[in-house]
């Protein structure tokens, strides 16, 4: 069962051999060098909260331009239950375990955000993955945790999942640890160490982990209520942890500049203490770094609200996802409500410089159709090729929030789109030949959320 106990399997992946025996790559540059253009994408597909009586699924998408089924969903692994809300997911192993001989990047850990159920999918056959294990919600509630979100493998083959609530969907959240046989090991953090939780990233060489804040599940699950922001029920703090001891060392309150800090990204180079957080509601990019023994954080990119004709209030950009290219040269992001994907030069991390953007989808995007298909929502979850030359994105945020802001997405389904990136020139352009339509499935239209590559990606791998 444990991937560490099956060294023979690595022989079947000759074309992905590396200089070392464990999973992943020796360095971020080694990942770029080893990467072949991605041929297969794994994408979360959802029917939760629709009048489509079907479970959520893992979609296998063909992204090989030489294939007859290019930009099609070629396979789906349907979950055994309905109502999960598949959302974020991760690998059993990444470059942080590259010292672990025989361990493979092979199993996807796929939580249900609403159900608190955790699925294990074996991707030994890349285009025909197989559900092999289900951890039922009761095994999660037992540790007074619910609402699993970010999955990272941690060194030695274990898996850590950020949990946004307690067993009742209230605060505090915490972290759930799985062992390398995908059994619940228990709670990783002391209960009450944090209140709110959302995304996290760890940088082991700096002995630091950063976690961000959404809200209590019972607050964000039913939809986004501005009253809850006024009542302080949404997050605005960054929690910096001592990675070894699993305790919070420093909390930075970002105040109004950092309302709803979501995605957290350290630079890939393991030496760095620099990174970024997207404060979704404030629509600011927060840069953080360590100096003089403590972390500092401040907005370095600010997206202005925009007036929408006939509406009550100016609309925030809502920065819902960010990622850093594997060479640490660019920060990419999505402004879901405004309808924009952008890239900033971060070669001077404290002073990002705008490189390029595409105005597409959302309330204000210049491009509202691709191949005659209405996009109906803004760019949301991003994924970048390891070589930094192809940026992909999907358009669903969260079923209940989609219903509020882009209700057409329930009827039309999401799309997956792509831009070609020129990292030398700092430019990107929409690839109009690429469109994956999640609206055209036998059971009915589906939403699409996070994207991953079989060989690791810009939001999966950490280096020791």
């Amino acid at each position: 069962m444990s991937d560490a106990e099956q060294p023979a399997e690595s022989e079947t992946h000759d074309h992905h051999d590396h200089d070392h025996e464990g999973p992943g790559y020796a360095t971020p540059q080694a990942a770029i060098e080893a990467a072949e253009p991605e041929q297969t994408a794994y994408v979360m597909g959802l029917h939760v909260g629709q009048d489509v009586d079907a479970p959520d699924f893992l979609a296998v998408v063909d992204v090989d331009p030489d294939s007859d089924t290019y930009s099609e969903i070629i396979n789906r692994v349907k979950m055994p239950n309905k109502g999960d809300e598949l959302h974020h997911f991760g690998w059993n192993a990444c470059s942080s375990s590259c010292h672990m001989d025989g361990l493979e990047r092979r199993h996807l850990v796929i939580p249900g955000q609403r159900s608190s159920r955790i699925h294990i999918v074996d991707t030994k056959e890349r285009r025909d993955p197989e559900l092999t294990k289900v951890i039922e919600p009761e095994a999660v509630y037992e540790h007074d945790l619910s609402a699993p979100h970010t999955v990272h493998c941690i060194p030695d083959g274990e898996i850590l999942i950020s949990m946004l609530g307690d067993a009742d969907g209230d605060l505090p959240g915490g972290f759930l640890e799985l062992n390398d046989d995908f059994e619940v090991q228990g709670r990783w953090d002391p209960p009450g160490e944090i209140e709110m939780n959302y995304d996290y990233w760890y940088q082991p060489r700096q002995n630091v982990m950063l976690s961000t804040e959404w809200a209590a599940p019972k607050t964000y699950y039913p939809g986004f209520d501005l009253e809850d922001v006024e009542d302080g029920k949404y997050g605005q703090r960054l929690n910096f942890w001592d990675w070894e001891s699993g305790t919070v060392e420093q909390t930075i309150d970002l105040g109004e500049d950092g309302l709803i800090p979501l995605e957290a990204r350290f630079l890939h180079t393991p030496e760095s203490t620099h990174g970024y957080v997207g404060a979704a509601l404030s629509s600011n990019i927060i840069h953080f770094h360590e100096s003089d023994g403590e972390y500092h954080a401040e907005p370095v990119i600010e997206f202005d609200d925009r007036e929408h004709e006939g509406w009550d209030m100016p609309v925030p950009a809502l920065v819902t996802d960010i990622l850093i290219s594997m060479d640490d040269r660019y920060l990419f992001g999505s402004n879901w409500l405004h309808g924009e994907v952008w890239m900033y030069d971060i070669s001077d991390p404290s002073n990002p410089r705008k490189a390029d953007s595409i105005s597409i989808g959302g309330y204000f995007g210049d491009i509202q159709q691709v191949q005659d298909r209405d996009i109906v929502a803004g760019p949301q979850m991003l994924q970048l090729s390891l070589d930094g030359e192809r940026l992909y994105w999907t358009t669903s945020l969260f079923s209940s929030w989609d219903n509020q802001f882009f209700p057409e997405e329930a009827e039309n389904g999401s799309v997956m789109l792509k831009a070609d990136v020129d990292p030398r020139e700092g430019t990107m352009s929409l690839d109009r030949d690429f469109l994956v339509d999640f609206g055209d499935l036998p059971e009915g239209p589906a939403r699409a959320h996070e994207i991953r590559w079989p060989d690791g990606d810009c939001t999966s791998d950490v280096w020791q």
Binding site: S115, G169, D225
Partner: protein, 105 residues
């Protein structure tokens, strides 16, 4: 045992189900193969929100997904709701979507 009339908000579809004492409406619907939206099944997420058109229900756990204004307007959570009388409910995914409007619009 009570009778519950399920009335899909966005279509002509209606179904009548019997709910045994102690059971939730979601469980009773599933037992006869009728699919309704749901998520957490604990009353936290609101995916299964329906609206009472007549009759009454009792929630087995606190309905954490619903605010006082929702409860006052007859919204109920089918995953934890047991009818106490014969009941008529508006159901389907669009009922949940009414809970919170777009604040900027």
């Amino acid at each position: 045992m009570t009778e519950v009339l399920l009335d899909w908000r966005d279509s002509e579809r209606t179904e009548t189900i019997s709910v045994p004492d102690g059971a939730t409406i979601l469980d009773a619907a599933e037992a006869v193969g009728i699919g309704l939206p749901f998520g957490c099944r604990t009353g936290a997420c609101g995916t299964c929100t329906a609206r009472l058109l007549s009759g009454d229900v009792v929630h087995h756990r606190p309905p954490r997904a619903l605010k006082d204004r929702h409860l006052a307007n007859g919204y109920v959570l089918l995953c934890i709701a047991e009818p106490t009388t014969d009941t008529h409910l508006a159901v389907g995914a669009t009922v949940q979507a009414e809970l919170v409007p777009n604040p900027w619009k």
